[in-house]
Amino acid sequence: MNASEEMKAPRVKRESKNRIRVDFDRTPLKERLKAKFLNLNFILKIVIFIFRLVFLIGISYVVLFPFITKIAGSFMSSQDFVDVTVRLIPKNFTLDIYRAIFTELGYWNAFINTMFLAGSTALIQVFICCMIGYGFAKFKFKGRGIIFILVMVTMIVPHQTLQLSMFMNFRYFDLFGILRLLGGDGIKVGVDEAGEAVKILTGLNLAPHHISDSGALVYDGLWSNTGLNLTNTYWPMLLLSLTGLGFKNGLYIFLLRQFYRSIPDELEESAYLDGSGTFHTFLTVILPLSIPMMITVFLFSFSWQWTDEFYTGLFFTSSKTKLITDIVSIPESLKIEYAGTQLYYTAIRNACGITIIMPLVVLYAFLQNFIVEGIEHSGLTAD
């Protein structure tokens, strides 16, 4: 036995009946660190970590840079756009653009209108898509496959294809000509003579009306002989949402169908045994289970409706109802002509965009963990 081995071996000494004392020499710190950090495995781990971090930060930069430039530009004054030394950081910090947007462009009016529209359609869409998705996932009935293909078709048909006929359909809204058949001239009343109910409906943009040849505002009754004019009201969006035909509803139905498939059948079966009807089971057992998924769909639906300009541009032909997408314009007080006009106007439009998405950013900040966690725990599979 040589000396070094003797030194490494722990020495056990009995101190008392129930206690022993072990003396050993610790490996020097240098040696320990070497063993821990200087092997291939650790180095590889570090390299991968750094690469991953750099890559993720790089992509994050790519994602965030447009927003950074927009925000930076929105605080610049008009001189900054002809100053070559100004890039990302404004030299003359000013809130002029935002002040003009909020005071001149009717931001709050548009905000409330769009909040009502996007909120109501998103809530309806979430509920209806849950229902339809659940129907596809859990019930076997004849023609299920075909109906599901029809859902996919509504997703594939580009909405520009239906642009004209969609407008015509809601401009002269009529169920198979039933309304026309029943006849009638519509309730021709002015704004003052209209009842309270109509006034409230008008306030909510829900009263069908059109401008007659003489320029008077005419409210369409249910028995109007030309069909109801639903443009410039929220009805087209609400009707499309109620029937699961709204913007990207095919995707929501698909996601929810996949989600409901992963819920074990036993859950409902036990509810049925307890005497619960299918719809009651859906409301009390299934819906509470799918809240994270519903929040995800709500977030999508709300924000896509919020920034949508196709449907709102199609159905809101008059400038009376201001929606959030209409505020993108140059405020009167900021109109100037100089060398940097192009850049300045772009900055103003960008600032409009910032104000538009601000509510969505707040919403996203609160709901963002649902968006991943909700889908994560769904066991979403594609079969």
Binding site: I128, F141, L239, L245, F310, L343, R349, T381, D383
Partner: protein
């Protein structure tokens, strides 16, 4: 009781009600299935179908607006279609460009979103933050923001290092990867120039790709989550490397999601407003007599999408691996 049962068994007439009762339970479930999808069916029948029918008939007609409201249609057969295909100088060209872009986009988006999903699925510090950042474009860069983005000259201005506008169109700094460098790099690796071009294009186009792969990333992430960790564990015990595990386990298990995402990407990039064909159809729509021509165009466009989606489903289904077959 036993007597009764025997009686029922003996007489054929009595056994049928029992059967009917079972059948009616099934039927009742089927009926509630119909009830659940009823909103869609009603909407499809009374709103969507008439719209499709109108749109198809309009594409074969010419609209004459009557003074003071109303309109009448004149049947012109395939005139709108031939106008779109043979008279319009830009439509066919735009269509070809659109298809070329798609051929480029689909693999890029699929590869990128799968890669990101695998990356974001790993446990690491700041994962929640990165996830939140990567889903920002899905929520914020749609609709009106896309329109604003399209005319955003400020972004390139701020990114550039030269003066306001040097007239060269694009500044060198804006191109993240200079094609020459990468080509030099790849020449030694003996891969074709096409691949080099593709990679260069993909990197330069990264913003667009990141922007459009949000939903796909989400679907892939959920797919990755549904793979049982036990499989990975047993692989590790058997000594498989991460690379092998990805190709032998992750890839086959995620392949149904690849099909779903491929279809979704096709539909999404075909029908988004920034698509070249869509924006062209939009400009045609606002021209005189353009409404009918644009619906003819978009119907042809729809047929092409449908064929491509069908092709992708047919090709991908051959390679898709399903771990369990139910239904």
């Amino acid at each position: 009781m036993t007597n009764e049962v025997k009686m029922k068994d003996l007489t054929g007439a009595n056994s049928s009600p029992k059967k009917r009762k079972i059948a009616s339970l099934d039927r009742r479930k089927a009926r509630s299935g119909w009830l659940f999808v009823l909103p869609f069916l009603i909407g499809f029948a009374i709103i969507y179908l008439p719209m499709i029918w109108d749109s198809i008939t309009l594409s074969f007609n010419k609209i004459h607006i009557i003074q003071g409201g109303g309109y009448w249609l004149e049947f012109v057969g395939f005139e709108n279609y031939s106008k779109a295909l043979f008279v319009d100088p830009n439509f066919v060209q735009t269509l070809v460009t659109g298809l070329q872009n798609l051929a480029f986009d689909i693999p890029a988006i699929l590869i990128f979103s799968l890669f990101m999903a695998v990356l974001l699925n790993q446990k690491m510090a700041g994962r929640a933050l990165f996830r939140a950042i990567f889903f920002i474009p899905v929520i914020l860069s749609t609709g009106i923001m896309e329109t604003i983005e399209a005319s955003d000259i400020l972004g390139t201005y701020m990114e550039g290092t030269s003066g306001i506008d040097d007239g060269s169109g694009s500044s060198a700094a804006a191109e993240i990867v200079s094609a020459v460098d990468v080509e030099f790099l790849f020449q030694n690796m003996k891969v074709g120039t096409e691949l080099t071009q593709y990679v260069v294009q993909m990197v330069n186009n990264i913003y667009n790709i990141v922007n459009r792969s949000g939903v796909q990333m989400l679907i892939f992430l959920s797919g990755l989550q549904s793979i049982s960790p036990a499989i990975y564990e047993s692989c590790r015990i058997d000594g498989a490397t991460a690379w092998e595990t990805f190709w032998k386990i992750t890839f086959p298990m995620i392949s149904p999601m690849i099909l779903v995402n491929a279809v979704y990407t096709v539909i999404d990039s075909f029908t988004t407003n920034s698509n070249v064909v869509m924006s062209y159809i939009k400009t045609v729509y606002s021209e005189t007599d353009g409404q009918v021509v644009s619906s003819a165009m978009s119907w042809m466009y729809f047929l092409i999408i449908a064929v491509i989606v069908g092709l992708i489903v047919a090709i991908c289904s051959a390679f898709v691996f399903y771990s369990r077959k139910n239904d």
